[in-house]
């Protein structure tokens, strides 16, 4: 999920370019490569450092990425490097993904359960969720034992909490209030 307005603006610009040239999928690949490279802290410290001249940064960025990503993606990284904003690449990637999803009419959901779910369970949950939000859903599943039982589904900013933990918490509060 994108955290900042600026990341969304960059993503919007990239998305417009991608649509013009009809290479959305290529951009998705490139952005995931780039945001993976941002996980390397030394790299980020280098390109976001105000002490290093931007010419040096761009030449390094060009050298590193010219082989792996498209020319425009390299240009994007150079632009971000000159503005000291390379660290927001993951946010831009997320925002870009959101644009792609909303174009396709797909919303991403996260299902958290205490034990890993079977395929049929996931399918039936997905079906119900897509009915509820009126869009196709692509799910990622996570397991978290602390919720004890049931499952929690998160679609965008919305949440369906059917976990035993929350039910117990609610009951605890209800009982305290009732006395």
């Amino acid at each position: 999920m994108s955290r900042t307005v600026s990341a969304r603006r960059y993503a919007q610009a990239i998305y417009d370019i991608a649509l013009e040239r009809d290479d959305v999928d290529k951009w998705l690949d490139d952005l995931s490569v780039l945001s993976n490279s941002v996980r390397d802290e030394t790299f980020v410290r280098f390109v976001d450092s105000p002490q290093i001249e931007s010419e040096k940064k761009t030449s390094v960025v060009k050298e590193v990425f010219a082989e792996v990503v498209s020319e425009l993606a390299v240009n994007l990284t150079c632009l971000l490097a000159s503005r000291g904003a390379v660290s927001s690449l993951p946010d831009i990637t997320d925002a870009f993904q959101e644009f792609v999803d909303s174009e396709k009419g797909v919303e991403r959901a996260e299902i958290i359960s205490a034990v890993s779910l079977t395929k049929t369970q996931i399918e039936s949950i997905t079906k119900d969720l897509s009915l509820l939000v009126g869009k196709e859903i692509s799910v990622t599943t996570l397991t978290d034992e602390s919720i004890i039982g049931g499952f929690v589904a998160r679609v965008g900013d919305r949440l369906i909490d059917g976990s035993i933990k929350t039910r117990l918490d609610d009951m605890k509060r209800e009982l305290i209030k009732g006395t």
Partner: protein, 504 residues
């Protein structure tokens, strides 16, 4: 109270059985930053303005700033449990507070939870804190008085039911005392009272509650206290909470008197919240909507028409000025919203004229139509005589020897009028007694009394009248007018009092 284990178990069983199992979709977000009682939250894209949200651990908050990529939330309660990354859930509801008869005699905090140690408030009813004021079609004009029991106010600055009368003055000029006296005077009457204390010292609130209890006035009163030690959002909410409680009674056709003590501190609390929410500061660093903050609150004071039950909410907002500066931002705002003001002056207070009401600067724009005819007939002359007295007194201070007899008589009458309007604290006077003493003053019965002994004369007069001529007082009260018969018997009663020798 002995509670058997079985009882508790059955209660819990019932609660478990009735426990909601419905699943609903809620809006969620995560805290980006938290500090100074404000949380900035990412997500919550579907949250509404003023919606109640819930942090992890059940801490409540109100969504106030809806921005493109974040939501600014004020935290009601202890912000210590909220961390970066904590989950926040929307509730889909706006703020509600408990209301009802059961709140009478209780002291509650800014969101209606009891803080007097008398156990939970047994009421199931709630009301929304922020509602739009009743519209013009369901209102009617003011026609019934609120008797404050204070001579200076009931005679010269009368307050009607449904009116908003500002009480303004510097610190320690007796603003709270007037409000408390007005509440005490409603004992045994049909007015329900709500005292909202905002940003006051806890000790002062405890003292006020103690006074109300001592005079038996707590039984018809709800005290809403958001003290100086409470968070700014609590202080911000307290007046609206009190107003929601008042509206509950108004909707039932009852009459309510609500005191906001004081709105200066309420504006300060709102200023703090607004600055921390990064809303742009304006004059005196108040946000742009500080006028609306008070206008929407005071507009909720109303007198409903008979088709809607005929209930009323009378508001007495209090404003504390700094060094008598009534032209500061918040005082001018509230003066323009209200239907008049009672202006208290430190000079008068220090000169021993208490309540220190400045009769020249104080006005009541609608209350005079609510005055009884008896009071109107005596108060009209009093107001005129005092106005003439104030004009004369400035140049008469160089000596009264050379003045003509008429002027001297006016001065003497004015001095006695000022004496009569003095009144002790926590000693409200019934309206019929107020009328009788002002009648005596107007008819010149006090002209031969020494100024120093006017107060003693008045006291003796009241006790004489209540014990020997209660029928006269009763007819003033019941007729609401001084008929020629009543006038005769009043005059003869005063004559017999003066002859009896009790006067000296």
């Amino acid at each position: 109270m002995a509670v058997r284990g079985q009882d508790i178990a059955s209660v819990i069983k019932k609660q478990i059985e009735g426990f909601g199992s419905d699943l609903a979709m809620v809006d969620v977000g995560s805290v980006i930053e938290v500090g100074d009682g404000i949380a900035r939250v990412h997500g919550l894209s579907g949250v509404a303005y003023n919606e109640l949200v819930e942090f992890e651990g059940g801490i409540a908050g109100i969504a106030l700033n809806l921005e493109e990529d974040s939501v600014g939330i004020v935290i009601l309660g202890d912000p210590l449990g909220i961390k970066e990354g904590s989950e926040v859930r929307g509730t889909g509801q706006v703020m509600q507070v408990p209301v009802g008869q059961q709140l009478l005699g209780r002291v509650v905090d800014g969101i209606g939870s009891p803080i007097d140690g008398k156990g939970p408030v047994e009421t199931n009813e709630t009301r929304e804190v922020e509602i739009v004021a009743p519209n013009v079609a369901i209102r009617q004009s003011v026609d019934t008085p609120v008797q404050t029991g204070i001579k200076a106010i009931d005679a010269m600055i009368p307050i009607g039911r449904g009116q908003r009368e500002l009480i303004i003055g510097d610190r320690t000029t007796g603003k709270t005392a007037i409000c408390v006296d007005a509440i005490i005077n409603q004992k045994g009457g049909d007015l329900t009272c709500i005292y909202v204390s905002v940003g006051q010292k806890v000790g002062k609130v405890a003292q006020t509650v103690g006074t109300l209890e001592q005079f038996g006035a707590l039984d018809h009163t709800i005290v809403v206290a958001a003290n100086a030690s409470d968070s700014a959002p609590m202080q911000y909410l307290a007046p609206y909470t009190g107003c929601a409680m008042a509206e509950y009674f108004m909707a039932q056709g009852k009459d309510v008197l609500i005191v906001y003590d004081d709105l200066s501190k309420h504006a300060w609390a709102y200023r703090q919240m607004s600055l921390l929410l990064k809303r742009p500061p304006g004059r005196e660093a108040y946000p742009g909507d500080v006028f609306y903050l008070h206008s929407r609150l005071l507009e909720r004071a109303a007198r409903l028409d008979d088709a809607h039950g005929g209930g009323s909410v009378t508001a007495l907002p209090v404003i504390e000025t700094q060094a008598g500066d009534v032209s500061a931002y918040v005082p001018t705002n509230v003066i323009s919203i209200t239907d008049g003001q009672i202006y208290l002056e430190p000079e008068l207070f220090n000169a021993g004229i208490r309540p220190a009401v400045n009769a020249g600067l104080s006005v009541s724009r609608v209350g005079s139509s609510a005055q009884t005819r008896a009071m109107r007939s005596v108060a009209g002359r009093l107001r005129l005589e005092l106005a003439q007295y104030r004009e004369l007194v400035t140049f008469a201070q160089f000596g009264t020897d050379d003045l003509d007899a008429a002027t001297r008589r006016q001065l003497e009458r004015g001095q006695r009028g000022v004496e009569i309007l003095k009144q002790g604290q926590n000693a409200p006077l019934p309206v019929e007694q107020q009328v009788s003493i002002l009648f005596a003053l107007n008819e010149g019965y006090l002209d031969d009394i020494e100024i120093d002994s006017v107060i003693n004369w008045e006291q003796a007069f009241h006790s004489y009248m209540t014990s020997n001529h209660s029928d006269v007082l009763k007819s003033i009260l019941e007729e609401g007018d001084i008929s020629s018969d009543t006038e005769e018997s009043l005059k003869s009663a005063i004559d017999s009092f003066k002859q009896s020798g009790l006067a000296s």
